[in-house]
Symmetry: D2
């Protein structure tokens, strides 16, 4: 993502806990920094990407407290996938400090990041969205404005819950067909062109050999980890709980990915869920 920003001509200051990662991007022209605080000196836009809500709150407010080091008017683009409640809280604090904050979680994986074809789902004010747009377009292909602050997180949680359902459902449908004598390629072709058509059949077939470039055809290495899917499903369950929304299909998909994870498959691509149905453990 940083390299794509550099390519587009942006001037960049970067920091990561991995010294190696900083070096790699510095070699392409960014200014490598030794701390978060050092990084934000003089910047106009801050892009953060962290693994959990309390990490985001830690770096912005409580620990590194970047909120105290940003000049008025700075726009914070938080590309982390976290809970919407933290996004709303950060936006409220930012407003008090004359800063702007949008939530902009991303999907598309490391491959999409490298190719600059990520999707961003943005929550925040229209003016902030417009200001972020040219920056986001350097890193992604589809930039969606989902609604007010926190809406990016909600949209991503909904999408990834649906993705988990598509993957588990498609896997079990293909396995059912295979167990009843059908060829997985033929069945995939039929369903993808019928009312069962979905992104998994189009781009990410879980059965080895059906789709050459899919993780299934390289032993489920790389891709989107089962562990990460379980994390994202946890976020979806949280917003279902706080809003009293029934999510039976998402809950079962979560349970299936949890069962798979429990069998030691957490670091395989999430399309390996088909192995649970096949009894491969």
């Amino acid at each position: 993502m940083a390299i794509n920003l550099l390519k587009a001509g942006h001037s960049l200051r970067v920091f990561d806990l991995s010294v190696e990662a900083v070096k790699q991007v510095a070699a392409k022209g960014a200014t490598g920094c030794k701390s978060a605080v050092e990084t934000v000196q003089g910047i106009e836009i801050l892009v953060t990407m962290l693994p959990a809500g309390n990490s985001v709150e830690g770096i912005l407010r409580t620990n590194e407290a970047l909120f105290d080091h940003l000049k008025a008017g700075t726009l914070i683009i938080d590309a982390s996938t976290i809970d919407a409640a933290t996004s709303k809280k950060m936006a409220a604090v930012a407003t008090e400090r004359n800063l702007s904050f949008i939530d902009a979680p991303v999907s598309g994986g490391t491959a999409g990041a490298a190719a600059g074809t990520l999707s961003f789902m943005v929550g925040g004010a229209e003016s902030d969205f417009q200001r972020a747009l040219p920056v986001l377009q350097c890193m992604g292909k589809n930039i969606f404005h989902a609604g007010g602050i926190g809406s990016g997180q909600v949209a991503k949680a909904c999408n990834n819950m649906l993705l988990a359902i598509l993957m588990a459902g498609t896997s079990e449908a293909l396995n059912l067909g295979i167990n009843n004598g059908l060829d997985p390629l033929a069945l995939s072709e039929i369903m993808s062109r019928s009312s069962g058509g979905n992104w998994v059949l189009d781009c990410y077939n879980p059965v080895p050999g059906v789709m050459e470039n899919a993780p299934a055809s390289r032993d489920y290495q790389g891709g989107f980890f089962v562990d990460l899917m379980c994390k994202d499903l946890g976020l979806a369950m949280d917003i279902s709980q706080t809003s009293g929304s029934p999510v039976p299909m998402g809950s079962i998909a979560k349970s299936l990915f949890n069962l798979h994870q429990t069998q030691g498959k957490g670091s395989l691509d999430f399309s390996s869920i088909v192995q649970l149905f096949q009894g491969k453990s």
Copy 2:
């Protein structure tokens, strides 16, 4: 379907329990008949479409016993959606009588039938498939050869189980987003262009007002009945039971459609399942 065959220049003899239906097609040039047996006099290809496996066995073997009235070499195209076991049994008997039999269940609904854009999923020998192809192409757009006899039924059961999963899953994801402040149109657009993309979001959005031509925008009238989806899911459960295939997502989808049906919604379009999540009863 019959009218589309006539349009293509085929000579047709037709029979249905509904006298009105026979009249309607006769008015377009078919020979209306008064019984099943009368209908099959002199024909080369028989197309049957009945609601259940025992109806198919009844008309071909036990009751009307059309097997006894067909000349050697006749091809039977059974477009019914039934259990694969009956299809295999009928094909075996047909072979003994020097007849040919293929299973060719259809999807696309009454709208697809009228427009000639149905999908056919065919199970049977390659030569029989080739012989049926020009006939099927008069009635449908996508003609798939799924595999040997019974494979059409299996493919349709897999596809419709997956469709039920897509519909229930998409409905609950949209409802989750709406309950968390998102606009259903915006969320539908985001997910349809992301990894949550699927046929339901593309063609059959369950939330009223999002898609003008979808059943959701006309009070869930017409379309594909909840009762029929429950029937098709029953067929999928049957082949999961006989093949020992786990179908957790399909089972839950079936339970949700059953709960909806129990609340008196059997004759609404199946996209009305979103009402179950919304608490509309």
Copy 3:
């Protein structure tokens, strides 16, 4: 079961496909027979116990056709666990022949059979139930009259579906507690004396070491096979389908036992389902 009838002073003629089984019971005083037909010569009550509905129909009506060999007034006690539809059909044919038929599926396993502590769930007329009662009491402890013909099968299907739910649910609750630091024995004790109390916690704890005599404490050998639970759940799904009854909990329990079976655990006791939650495969 036969030995317990002998002990009670009944005169017995016995047949089984296993010559060894016949010998064993003959050694205790029964008349061993070489065929089903030979067995029923001169009897007043016939007890059948077969693995599936078509086996029962085969032996009574179509193949061995025992209906043709029984004298008028004979009472048939079918202790098989099969579909209620077959029970009703057999009872109807029996009535035509001046015979009586009740369905009396049994639960309690091989241990209960040896100890004479089985439960019988009987469907049929009150007079037939009363006539069967003294015979059933030689083999079982709890003899329930569930209702009219077929009701024994329905009651057993309901009970065993509920049992599957109790076992899967108790297993996942215990595993949740263990994963959060609780001692399985302490948690079992707490729940069994609280509102989570159920037969599994009382008699059949799935965690090894908690209950000395449970299959869990002997590597899940013996007991009630996963394969048999899957069969019984299939019967419950069938009556849910024909009656349009939603069974979400039972469906998920079935899917979990199917997943477990798929991993090669079909011949373990059904309490081994706890291994699925523990990731032991």
Copy 4:
């Protein structure tokens, strides 16, 4: 609970946001107080019972900050049903202040509270448990020591998740039997004495008329609200998420109670879930 402590001869200071509740207990001999801080003057044991983790943290640490007002050595018995993480945090702070803290969530409902037959599930050190025991025995019948701090919350979450499974599962099994012609009383009797036996069948039958004293026989008024069951299931889902424990049965039970809640049934007793299966809305 307070009145039972008074009856046992304890001297009590009481506070509640409801002035009426304070008056009622004061009339029986307690010292009514006007604030939480006033209440804890001179006490040796503090019993708290609040609706959520942040309420407990608020009263003890951040808002009323009772931790600052308790004398060294005071034992805090928190009878709230909250997340185990908050219990652990409160215990850690208590230790720093030379105070003792145990989590002691309760089950048994308002009826059990009045009768002094509640169950307490206690987490904390053995010495603290022994010190609390005589106090808890004034209010409850079964006092369980589940393990170290937080274990009371975990045990209650496991038990109530299992209870939700028992209630939903028993309801759907009874409905399945009824739809297939069985009498609910007969089927309840059969299953309660067979392997389907559980607390719901023994004490809390969900079908109106089967059990005179159950909420089902008074239009599901009183008892344990659907809303509260949804809250408790949320706590179980939280510990399943943090411990990576698959809970498919609990998840589906939660979804079913959520669907029921969404239909406006939140303030009915939780056994009204049977109406969801019956299509009564």
